[in-house]
């Protein structure tokens, strides 16, 4: 397949964003400042003990938290982008119906949509990165690589959620996705505290979550000492989720829209 049709469909998402970008950009860049400020300094002051420093691998709490937040907030934004907006495009605005009547094919449309989702993840990751720099957490050039890792993490979670959302008749199950998907992933994937603090029985779950791989890799990159083999493993794991999720998304799209 050539990418040109998908690139043209992608323009539709840019157009759509132009009507809300002011509010969106503002909250995208303000939120990480607020979050990192409150949690990094507020909680950081509380956990400034020797045992805490040991569990955090010698980092301050802000240094520990910020790269995790980068990955986790990218994921959170992506989940928002592949739930309600997907149903809207199927049923409310009917963007997909309009698109499939043109030369665009199902895979062009899904690719365009998910590429846009990747852009949104990238914006969020960049915003967190800027906040990190503002708080003095960025020390090495490696750390900038956490932005593409944030995008990959977003897509690793976002593509399977898209594949689920496209099968839904309405939005009612999305609050469950949030409650039993986003929130536990967000809390227990090593963003706020090391996974080693979790009870042994649930630890494997945390290690299996794509978010943990994104968090761990971002943290290593920002700390400036990423281990090559572990890093490649993280990227491969996230890439596998994103790839399988993409295939399932295209399949789900065809099943829903080409009937």
């Amino acid at each position: 397949m050539t990418l040109a049709p998908a690139a043209r469909a992608f323009e539709a998402y840019v157009y759509g964003y132009r009507r809300t970008w002011r509010g969106s950009v503002l909250s995208t860049f303000v939120m990480p400042l607020v979050y990192l400020g409150a949690m990094g300094f507020g909680i950081g002051a509380l956990v400034h003990t020797q045992s805490a420093a040991r569990s955090l691998g010698g980092m301050t709490y802000l240094e520990f938290l910020a790269p995790g937040m980068l990955a986790a907030s990218a994921m959170q934004v992506v989940i928002g982008e592949v739930t309600w907006p997907v149903i809207a495009q199927v049923k409310w605005v009917k963007t997909y119906q309009a698109m499939v009547a043109t030369p665009l094919r199902g895979d062009d449309v899904v690719l365009a949509n998910l590429a846009w989702v990747g852009v949104r993840a990238g914006m969020t990751a960049l915003a967190t990165y800027v906040a990190m720099a503002a708080f003095g957490v960025v020390h090495t050039p490696w750390s900038a690589l956490s932005i593409p890792v944030g995008i990959l993490t977003g897509l690793a979670v976002g593509t399977p959620v898209y594949a689920f959302a496209i099968t839904r008749q309405n939005e009612s199950s999305f609050s469950l996705v949030f409650r039993f998907g986003t929130v536990p992933l967000f809390l227990f994937s090593g963003t706020f505290f090391p996974v080693s603090q979790l009870p042994g029985v649930v630890r494997p779950l945390a290690y299996a979550s794509p978010l943990w791989h994104g968090v761990d890799l971002c943290r290593a990159l920002v700390a400036g000492h990423p281990a090559l083999r572990m890093s490649l493993l993280h990227v491969a794991y996230l890439g596998a989720w994103a790839a399988v999720g993409f295939v399932l998304s295209v399949r789900g799209f065809r099943k829903r829209m080409v009937v």
């Binding site: 040109a4 049709p5 043209r8 469909a9 323009e11 539709a12 157009y15 759509g16 009507r19 605005v93 009917k94 963007t95 119906q97 309009a98 698109m99 499939v100 009547a101 043109t102 030369p103 665009l104 094919r105 829209m257 080409v258 009937v259």
Partner: protein
């Protein structure tokens, strides 16, 4: 294939669409010729949209043969769709965007360069008389304006074949006439048009040839005049009586005409000379509340073919 346009733009043989075990289109044959205005007339659920979606290459046929612009939808979907214009039954405009943005974006899906898309959008907005709304959001537009915008959008790629699924449903008479006028103009420009409708007057006014569709099957095919000549008389007398049940009156009219239809609210007498039939009714001492002699329409054809009225 490029540049060469076959004479038959849509050819279907035994075309079938099933949803699960339900058969929405039950093996129909069709030929739509170049530069023709072709219609599907049928009631709700007849299978008109299902057929249009197969012809539009967005819904794969379950069975049968289908060829569009001489190509196979199963293999050449994107190539075919590049040369079609589609007005779907439900509007699929983005109401948050402006009229012009809707057209430009849609044109981009066809790979039309931005500059061309913009100038074509302005021409088309002019064509459907929405030029002064070009920069307005779609949301507050009236139903008729949205329909016209959808028609404009379907023309951005200068299609050879235009598929219109109920282009005027829900429009007031004035808006309908405006749409008819635009469609007729497209026909004079050589565009081939396929339309679905449950308005018999629309089919009669616009279509060179049409099929009457009911329950997934084609009940009859021909020009409007053809069909009326074949399935109805020249004139019809419509009688309304002061009775809760027109079935009670019907026996008293026996023998006045060869064919009579008894509907809940009126009785139709099929006659070549309506006034003469009406005179006989009066001779029998019957006094209808109202009596109307009119020409036969496709509605009468439909009633004859299916035993039901088109719009119930």
């Amino acid at each position: 294939m490029e540049g060469h346009l076959p004479d038959v733009l849509v050819r279907a043989r035994g075309l079938t669409k099933r949803f699960g075990s339900f058969e929405a289109v039950r093996g129909i044959d069709l030929d739509v010729h170049r530069a023709e205005f072709f219609g599907f007339l049928g009631p709700n659920g007849a299978g008109k949209s299902s057929t249009m979606r197969m012809v539009g290459c967005v819904s794969p046929p379950t069975d049968g043969e289908l060829s569009i612009l001489g190509m196979d939808p199963r293999r050449n979907g994107p190539e075919i769709r590049a040369r079609l214009g589609v007005v779907p039954q439900d509007d699929t405009l983005d109401v948050e965007l402006t009229c012009r943005e809707n057209l430009v974006l849609y044109a981009r899906y066809f790979g039309i360069p931005r500059r061309v898309a913009r100038s074509r959008a302005d021409e088309l907005l002019e064509f459907v008389q929405l030029a002064e709304r070009a920069g307005d959001k779609v949301e507050p537009l009236s139903g008729g304006m949205k329909r016209r915008l959808t028609i404009a959008r379907s023309l951005v790629n200068e299609p050879e074949l235009l598929l219109l699924d109920e282009p005027t449903t829900g429009l007031d008479p004035q808006a309908r006439h405006l749409v008819w006028d635009k469609l007729f103009r497209l026909k004079t420009q050589g565009v081939t048009l396929v339309l679905t409708t449950h308005y018999m007057d629309e089919a009669e006014q616009l279509c060179d040839r049409l099929v009457v569709m009911d329950k997934g099957l084609i009940a009859a095919e021909g020009s409007p005049r053809d069909l009326i000549g074949r399935y109805s008389t020249r004139e019809v007398v419509e009688l309304r009586f002061d009775t809760p049940d027109h079935g009670d009156v019907a026996p008293k009219l026996d023998g006045v005409v060869e064919r009579m239809e008894v509907l809940p609210d009126r009785i139709l007498l099929y006659a070549d000379h309506g006034e003469a039939a009406l005179a006989q009714v009066h001779e029998r001492g019957l006094n209808p509340l109202s009596a109307l002699v009119r020409r036969s329409t496709l509605e009468d054809v439909f009633l004859r073919l299916t035993g039901r009225t088109l719009v119930d």
